[in-house]
Amino acid sequence: MKINANFMFFADRNPRINISLRVLMAIFGSYGLALLGAAALAAGTLVAKPDAVNLAIMLSFLLYLLSVIWVFATATLLKAALGLLVPAAFFGLWLALATPGGTS
């Protein structure tokens, strides 16, 4: 993986800060994303309710796993953070659309 110099910041160049930020993102960011994903998937009308909870939990653990791997696999911190923020925005939007209408 080549590092794109355009998106390198100070934190990327300092090994300690780099690794610390990734660990924090992996532990809290991925877990937060999983929480959000679970909420969105359970509220969405994919399947009937008791099943929706089950399915949301199963998928969210996979989401958690993939995001942890993503955070450590990406070249730059920016990309790692975007990998958490973009899906978070997606699930946040989903949740916002699904809940107030009371469709589920």
Binding site: N14, I19, A43, A52, V53, N54, A56, F61, L65, V68
Partner: protein
């Protein structure tokens, strides 16, 4: 490995694998080891109550059981009888006092009693005296209905019959023929698919966990309550009806509970800690798979006596051999905690909260107040037997016993359910308790696809479906998992030997972090096994009538575990390994010999009485103990390869170490 420099995916994953595995590795080893033993939780508990070892499950004195219930609990709202199973040869009686709530808790408790009841073997009443015609366990019903029962000629035959009861749930298939051809399917059917159940009875009996969502309530069997408030329970020798007073012990349940909620702390704390460790484990396993892209090849590669490379091979082999098991057990562990770890799913699906208690509450049947005699249970059991054919009867519950509005409920063994149907699918039959008329039962609807998927994971984790062979396979896979964690932890040290030596040469001390991992390795791996061995010894050496002896057993476990930590701190790495491995090996390998000396059955006694679960325990202990001895010996004979830093002669340097 530096994340500020260009690197490959596998390098990143290797870092992730190493550290996510190490940080909570010792906890994961403890979870794996105690969890693996939990597959045989009932067997362990039975072993730890030598007073029960001579129970004869080959026939059941049901009348005696009812007499005892009528004597002990004449006013109970409910009686439950749990039938003997291959996993517990005793007959269990429990009841619910009038004061106990009939709501959710009551239902839950009742559920617990039922599950406690779920056993495989059929009750067999002694219909005819005398030795010659005494029906064998599984054939009891046949005898009552006038079906032919195998006549055993002498003791040898009788033993064979008993052992048959363990080996196959064929119910005397060979000889006890039924009229209908449909029945023939029963023959040769392996026994004990449901054997897993009764283990949950007690946990289920506890109050439902307020925090538990639907899945958790179903799978974890409720939390809260702490196990202290299970209802009264009497254990009988099935054949004689004699009360057996097993010593007070937490038995295998201690190991079981420890593996998902630890001990000595609030259970929610314990569950969170274990849940977090499981999430680390999940990451460690999958990142490990990514690192080892030659996973198939790795499995067939073992290069012994090559230092780090051999450890790597051992780690790979133990991981890859049961990789599906590791993934399933970890993922299902997460699912079991799903509602706790990811509460948002429940919250968003049920913003107003979901009343689990209401959902679980059973339509209560109030007693009429008029007395009426109980119907003869034998024909009812025969009907259940007829209806379910191969699956058998797990338990019998009498609601409002002695009342005109009493109900007899007969349930299938819980584990009789298939892998996809989950444990809620055990069927039951209801009868009017006075007239014996069948009553309608609302059966659970078949599971949806999502439920089926989650059931498969959870059933695999909990081994509900497992008859003896899959159960032993799960046990072996669990040992593989424990070995995977242990070899990984040891490898962390071995991979850093060179840095350690360098540091020692420079400053004269082992680096702090390295020493910390070394001590934790010895205490966390060998020390835990030592503590488990000591737990079993304490079970037999602490006087049977000592007050709170069950707590003392657990205290011994933790005292020995703590002492192993001190020992590991004081001794050098290698000596500590040798001494603790050998100690654990001795404690565990000696268990089959300790057993008859302290009131239990000797191995030969178990074989002659056909107590299969004792045979299994004793042989497994012997084998595991000897393996630990072997490991201790290997460590003792191990000579580290001469390192380049130690001014080795040139020929050693044919394969120079890679430079840092």
């Amino acid at each position: 490995m530096r994340f500020d420099q260009p690197r490959g995916l596998r390098q990143s994953m290797s870092w992730l694998h190493t550290w996510s595995g190490l940080v909570l590795g010792w906890l994961l080893f403890a979870i794996f080891a105690t969890g693996t033993l939990s597959f045989f939780r009932n067997e362990i508990t039975f072993w730890m109550q030598p007073e029960l070892h001579r129970a004869d499950k080959n026939r059941i004195d049901l009348d005696r059981a009812l007499q005892i219930l009528a004597w002990e609990a004449p006013n109970a709202t409910q009686w439950s009888i749990t039938f003997p199973s291959p996993r517990n040869p005793t007959l269990g009686l429990s009841w619910q006092a009038p004061g106990q709530n009939q709501g959710a808790g009551g239902r839950d408790q009742q559920e617990g009693a039922r599950e406690g009841a779920s056993r495989e073997a059929r009750p067999a009443r002694e219909s005819a005296g005398g030795n010659g015609e005494r029906p064998r366990g599984e054939g009891g019903f046949a005898a009552r209905e006038g079906r032919p029962v195998r006549e055993n000629a002498g003791g040898g035959g009788e033993r064979a019959g008993r052992e048959g009861g363990f080996a196959a749930r064929s119910r005397e298939d060979g000889s006890a023929r039924r009229e209908g051809a449909a029945r023939s399917e029963r023959a040769g059917r392996p026994e004990g698919e449901g054997a897993a159940q009764q283990n949950d009875g007690r946990q289920q009996g506890e109050a439902p966990n307020a925090a538990g969502g639907q899945q958790q309530a179903r799978a974890q069997g409720g939390g809260g309550g702490g196990g202290g408030n299970r209802g009264p329970r009497i254990v009988l020798d099935p054949a004689t009806g004699a009360q057996l007073k097993g010593r007070e012990t937490a038995g295998g349940n201690f190991l079981y509970r420890f593996h998902f909620e630890l001990y000595g702390m609030d259970r929610m704390w314990g569950r969170w800690i274990v849940g977090i460790a499981t999430m680390f484990m999940f990451v460690a396993i999958i990142s490990g798979v990514i690192v080892h892209r030659n996973i198939f090849k790795d499995f067939f590669t073992f290069r012994p006596a090559k230092g780090k490379r051999s450890w790597l091979d051992a780690h790979n082999a133990s991981s890859v051999l049961s990789l599906p098991f590791h993934i399933v057990i970890t993922f299902s562990g997460l699912l079991l905690f799903g509602n706790m770890l990811l509460p948002t799913a429940m919250q968003s699906a049920y913003p107003d909260g979901m009343n689990m208690r209401a959902r679980m509450a059973q339509e209560a049947t109030p007693p009429s107040g008029e007395r009426a005699p109980l119907v003869d249970l034998v024909p009812l059991l025969a009907i259940a037997d007829e209806t379910w054919q191969s699956r058998g009867i797990g338990s019998l519950t009498i609601i409002n016993p002695g009342d005109r509005k009493s109900i007899v409920e007969i349930r299938q063994p819980m584990a009789g359910g298939s892998l996809v149907s989950g444990r809620n699918m055990a069927e039951s039959l209801r009868f009017d308790g006075v007239t014996g008329e069948p009553l309608a039962v609302t059966q659970a609807p078949p599971p949806t696809t999502v439920q089926a998927i989650s059931n498969v994971f959870i059933m695999l984790h909990r081994g509900f479906f497992a008859s003896p062979v899959p159960r032993w396979l799960l046990f072996l896979a669990g040992i593989g998992g424990a070995l995977m964690v242990a070899t990984g932890l040891v490898m962390w040290c071995i991979a850093r030997t060179k840095e350690k030596e360098k540091h020692r040469v420079e400053s004269g001390r082992t680096p702090f972090g390295h020493r910390l991992v070394e001590v934790c390795n010895v205490a966390g791996i060998a020390g835990l096994l030592l503590a488990i061995g000591a737990y079993f010894w304490a079970n037999r050496l602490i006087p049977a009538d000592l007050l709170q002896r069950n707590l003392w057993e657990i205290r011994v476990f933790f005292l020995i575990w703590g002492a192993s930590g001190v020992h590991a701190l004081l001794r050098d790495y290698k000596r500590a390994w040798i001494e603790q491995l050998a100690g654990a090996g001795f404690l565990i390998a000696a268990l089959p010999f300790l057993n008859p000396l302290t009131g239990g059955l000797s191995l030969f006694g178990s074989i002659s009485l056909g107590q299969g679960l004792l045979i299994g325990f004793d042989l497994a202990a012997l084998l595991i103990g000897l393996s630990l001895f072997y490991a201790a010996r290997k460590v003792r004979l191990h000579v580290p390869r001469v390192r380049a830093t130690q001014a080795a002669p040139p020929f050693v340097n044919l394969q120079p170490e890679e430079s840092a």
